[in-house]
Each structure stands twice: as C-alpha cells, then as structure tokens.
Amino acid sequence: MAGLAAPWLSSCAGAPEDDASTGASGGSGGGGGGDLTVYWNAGHAYAAYDKVIAEFQEEHGVTVNMQKYQWDDLRTRLLSDLASGNPPDLVEESGGWVQEFATTGDALSLQEYVDADGEEMGFPEDWQPKTISRNSYEGEVYGIQLHLTCTMLLYNRAMLDAAGVEVPTTWDDFLDAATRLTGDGVYGFALNQDRSYSWPWLLQNGVRYYDPDGGDLLVPRDKAIEALQFQADLVHRHQVAPVPTPGTDYSGPQKLLSAGRAAMILTGPWDLAPIQQTSPDLNLGVAPALANDVQATVQAGTSVFIPRKAKNPDLAWDFIKRITALDVEKAATEEAGMLMPRLSWAEDPVVQENERYAAFAEGFAYAVDYTEDLRLTGKSGEINEQLYNTLYQDVVMNNTPAETAVDTFVTEARKVLDA
C-alpha cells in the first residue's frame, strides 16, 4: 500500500502524495509544518494534555491532529485504517489492544526507543510492574501504560453507619451487609450490566480465565460457577440488588449510589467525579477489594502504542514521553481524578493526601489483568466480548443456573479456540 495518500491529506482532490519527509504532508486546513495524528478517547481530553500538545507543537513545528472518539468508534476507525495501510501515528487504547495488535503485526515494537530513552523517563522502573507485561509481547515492549485503574468497593458511609454495618471484607460479610442495608427503596448492592464487573468476584475465587498449559477456560470450573452464581443470587435469591438492565451504559450502579438508592457498588475511579458532581454531600467510602479465597480485583486502564505503519514514529515516541511524565500525570489527576501508572505518582502527596485516590492506589498491588492469557490466543474478542457477555447476562439477568450457562460457554468457546 505504499504511496497511498496519508489520511490527513488536505481536502483538495488529487493532492500530491507526499510521504517523504517526516510529517510534512500538508496539514489539514493547510497550516503548520506537518501533522502528528493521534487517536484519543473523547473522555480523556484533559487540559493537562492540551498543555503538553501546545508545547509539543511549539517545539517541533508540527500540528497535533487529536482525533477524539468513543472506544467503539475509535476501534472501527482504526481497523479501517489498518486495513488500508493508513494508520495514525499514535493511538490510545482501552486496555488489551496492545498485545492484540502486537500479535497481528500492526503495532510497532517500542523496544529500541525504550532502550535509548527508558532510563531518562524512568521506564520501566517507575511503572507499576503489572503494567509492563500487559503491554509486552515476546519480550519486547509495544505499549506504554497511560492511565491505570482498578475496581474497588464504593459505599455510602452514612448508610452503613446508620445500619450499624461494618465495611465488609469477605463474601459472607458482604452478603450480610447487603441484606441489612436493603429495604425502604434502597438496595444493598447494585451490579453492573457490563460483564467486566463480574471479574472481581471470579478473581477473588481464584479463577483464571484461560490456562495456556491445559488450554482450559474458567479454571477451576466449580469456583467460576460459584462466583457467578453468587452474583445472580444477590439479585434473584437474596434480592439485595436490582436486576441490571442490558445496554451499553456503565453508569447505572453509580447513579443508584449517587441517588442513595444503592448502598454499595463495585466500580473504578471514573465514577468518582460523577458522584461528586451529582451528590456532593454523599459520604463516600472506598473499601479494599473483598477476599474469598484471595483478595483480588480487576486492573484496567489505557495505554498508548504506535502503529507499525505510522508515518512519524519518532515524533509519536516523543509525544509518549511527554504525556506520561510525572508532572502531567499529577496534573491530570488533580484536574480529572484519573489514576496513573507511575510508582512515584502513587507516592506523591497529590495521591496520598486524597483518601479516595490512595485507596485505589493500594488496590494496584493485587489488581489483575484477567484477560491477558486469553488475549494472547488471539480469540479474546469472540470469547470475552461475545460469549462471556452472553454467559454473564444469562446468569445475572435471565437467572439461568450458572452451571448450565458455564457449560454452554465452555462448549462454544472451545469451538472458537479449536477453529
């Protein structure tokens, strides 16, 4: 596909195809010395990043074309670009895409850049250790963690106090607390309709998504069934949580908590700001993850990577270095409450002096990237986002026995793995 017009070529038909000099392919709108095309999540357009962009443009004499999308749209766009050989220079990804695109040969290995600049930027020493492996493939680094989050137990402190309930630490405590908090238009707990929120429970029961050695899914099986059934029972048997509504929105539990209609929810730091905004008086507590067999929770957060066919990889790398600097991380936290992957960030007063951020940062120690093994099979899209989604909703919404639903899931997922 060499010689294709770059996607950011200006709107004039038949514009000369010029991909010779670095980023000098006629900026959109005709200005500047060139473009660095960046795909970004529309929810992450922080002023702290605008400042970095302004400095970057100034220093390099280029225009940064920040294209902001929702995740689904960003992915649609990116796959079209990859198919046509026209990818952007830098991509923010929603977690898990780095290895996916590394396996398919669409992502650029950053190892050479890391070897040259790692020490200066503190990579990998200053990053939470678990963020390195999820962005590596066959021993080379392909992506740099940008944000780091995990799922914790958020609760309405006033409600727990009024009911005389201690913050739960085990499943038994939790069920007891939820039962006592339920009543009078209030649910003890609210489950999310999205499948990923089921994984803290599975992880706490010691379940692995995929075992690369045995090639088996959801092991140990009985523990997986127990964890899924526990969630369904909260809804259907104990009735301490409403039936989650299917959809594409993650904010249901957060809204119920904010409105004082749910006492506890599982969520990440992204819900802190909306809660603060809609219910500034809510006395919000952030509890450590529960433990059944082990204490565990889900690790999430975005990374950035450079497509292999990017026109300006050097510029993109420089952009990565700037946008992941400690000062920028701190500014984004102060501005938007986003949590960050640097170890020095977690120790910074900005974090330590904020009870909620600090509570999340402590979770990083036992948060797990649960899909990593599955991702490396290259079948995660079908198994996790389609089959597991059906499994989870079938159990918690349709009240299908977890054992039956898990059997169906495993049969179908095996077919996918064997294909």
Partner: protein, 275 residues
C-alpha cells in the same frame, strides 16, 4: 368537492389519532427538556421531568466545546448535495425501469436492489481504500460521491412512475419529443409527491448517517453532526444535556424540510381528482 358525513368511525379515529400522536411526541418532548437540564440533573438517578431552571446555555456550550458550526455546515453540504443528486438521478433510472422494455430488465433490477442488501460497514473498508487511493479522504467528495444515487430512490420512483398511463408517453413520442424531454415534461410533473418523499427521506437518511462520516473524515473540523455529537460522551457516561441539545438541533432542518415538502404529498384526495 363533496363532504362525507360524520361517522362514529371518524370520531373513534380522532380519539385514536390523538392518543397515537401523544405517544409519538411525548418521548421527544422529553429530549427537549433533557436539553435544558443541568449536567447534574441529567446524571441524576431520579430522572428529572422538567429542569429547575431551563439551561439554554447548553446550546451555547455545544459551540464552545466543539466546532459545532462546522458540523452543521458539513452536514448541510453533504446531506444537501446527496439529496440534490438523488433528485436528479434516481427518477431518471426509475423511469427507465418503469417504462422501458429491454432484455435483462428484471435481472438488472434485482441486481440494483442487491446494492441495498450488504450493510455499509461490510463494504466500508474497500470503499475507504478507494477513497484513500483517490486522495479524497477528509473531503466533501468522499462524503458525497459514494452516495450520488441509490436503489431505494430508484425503486421508489419506479413504483410511482409505473401507474402513469403509457398513452401519455406515446402521444409525446408521436409529437416527436425527445426521450429526455418526455421525462422532464411528461413524467416528472406527474410524480411530484414521490419526488417530495424522495427528497425528504434522502435528506433525513444522509443527515443522520454516522458510520461513513466517522471513517472518511480525519479532522474534527470535517465531522458531521452525528459524528461530532460523540464528542459529548465521556468514557463511562454520556453528557446528556449536551447530547440532547445537539439532537434537538439535529431535528431542526429535517422538520423544516418536512414542513416544506409535505404539501406535495399530503394534499388529500379531494384535490387529486382535479389533475
């Protein structure tokens, strides 16, 4: 003119219509009130029916947060351009299928309808590569040219041209009129209601199109309104006050176009007897 007697069915019809129309419009009014709520009101778990004080500033904020003026202009150019093209090309092709006899006509017609049976996203990537090779990405031609005509419009026009008596055409031919002249002077005036419908529906469809403008534009300034509206979603929740305000704006041109075009297709039976 004759006036029908008032019947019980008519009264029942009135009542039913009022209920149906209420069911249709009330949900949309809710969008209107959402667009006037504060962000906190739209995010609240106990939904708010009417804002405490209407936030007309939401509409201003749209333009401050994003190049919303660009979005509107782009949408107007793209949807308008495509609509004009359809009004020119679709009736012509529809006329040929309705009134000419030629070998393979039915096969070709099914082949034409077949273009509607593969969803855009499936053939989007080849189309995208083509636009990219032409150097057209992020341009109006990339947004317009792939949609210059479509089988929907051709089929619609064929169906409405078919009932026109052949004698009219034959008479014009005997008078020595050229085929294009027959089309313009005999056929088109007969199908004004269908043209109004075609123009309206083409505009509505293109005005709301999302996927292609998402893929074919590469700068924020070139986005159309539906794509631009996604900027008002956060990662985990929607900024409903802005999305609703944008949606209300999205309504304005299509409603205006409907009000303009409806007189062509809803004159009522008493007038149609006069032609």
């Amino acid at each position: 003119m004759h006036i029908r007697p008032v019947s019980p069915a008519r009264v029942a019809g009135y009542a039913l219509l009022t209920v149906v129309c209420a069911l249709t419009v009330v949900p949309l009014l809710y969008m209107g009130t959402l667009s006037l709520q504060t962000e906190a009101e739209t995010l609240a778990a106990d939904p708010v029916l009417w804002p405490e004080s209407p936030q007309f500033g939401n509409y201003v904020e749209l333009f401050e947060r994003a190049p919303f003026g660009n979005f509107i202009v782009n949408s107007l150019i793209v949807a308008g351009g495509i609509t004009v093209a359809h009004l020119v090309f679709d009736p012509l092709v529809g006329y040929v299928f309705a009134k000419f006899r030629f070998p393979l006509r039915n096969t070709l017609f099914v082949a034409l309808l077949a273009t509607l049976m593969i969803p855009l996203f499936v053939r989007m990537i080849p189309l995208y590569v083509m636009m990219s090779n032409l150097g057209w990405l992020n341009s109006y031609q990339a947004l317009i040219v792939p949609f210059l005509m479509d089988a929907f419009g051709i089929f619609l026009m064929r169906q409405f041209i078919q009932p026109i008596p052949d004698d009219l055409i034959q008479a014009a031919r005997i008078d020595g009129a050229s085929e294009l002249r027959i089309y313009a002077r005999v056929i088109l005036p007969q199908v004004k209601p269908a043209l109004a419908v075609l123009g309206l529906f083409t505009f509505v469809f293109q005005w709301n199109e999302f996927l292609w403008p998402l893929v074919a534009t590469t700068t924020e300034e070139m986005r159309t309104i539906p794509v631009g509206l996604t900027l008002f979603n956060q990662e985990y929740f929607t900024l409903w006050h802005l999305t609703a305000a944008g949606s209300v704006i999205l309504f304005v041109p299509t409603v205006l176009l409907f009000l303009f075009s409806q007189r062509y297709f809803v004159r009522g039976i008493t007038l149609s007897g006069l032609k």
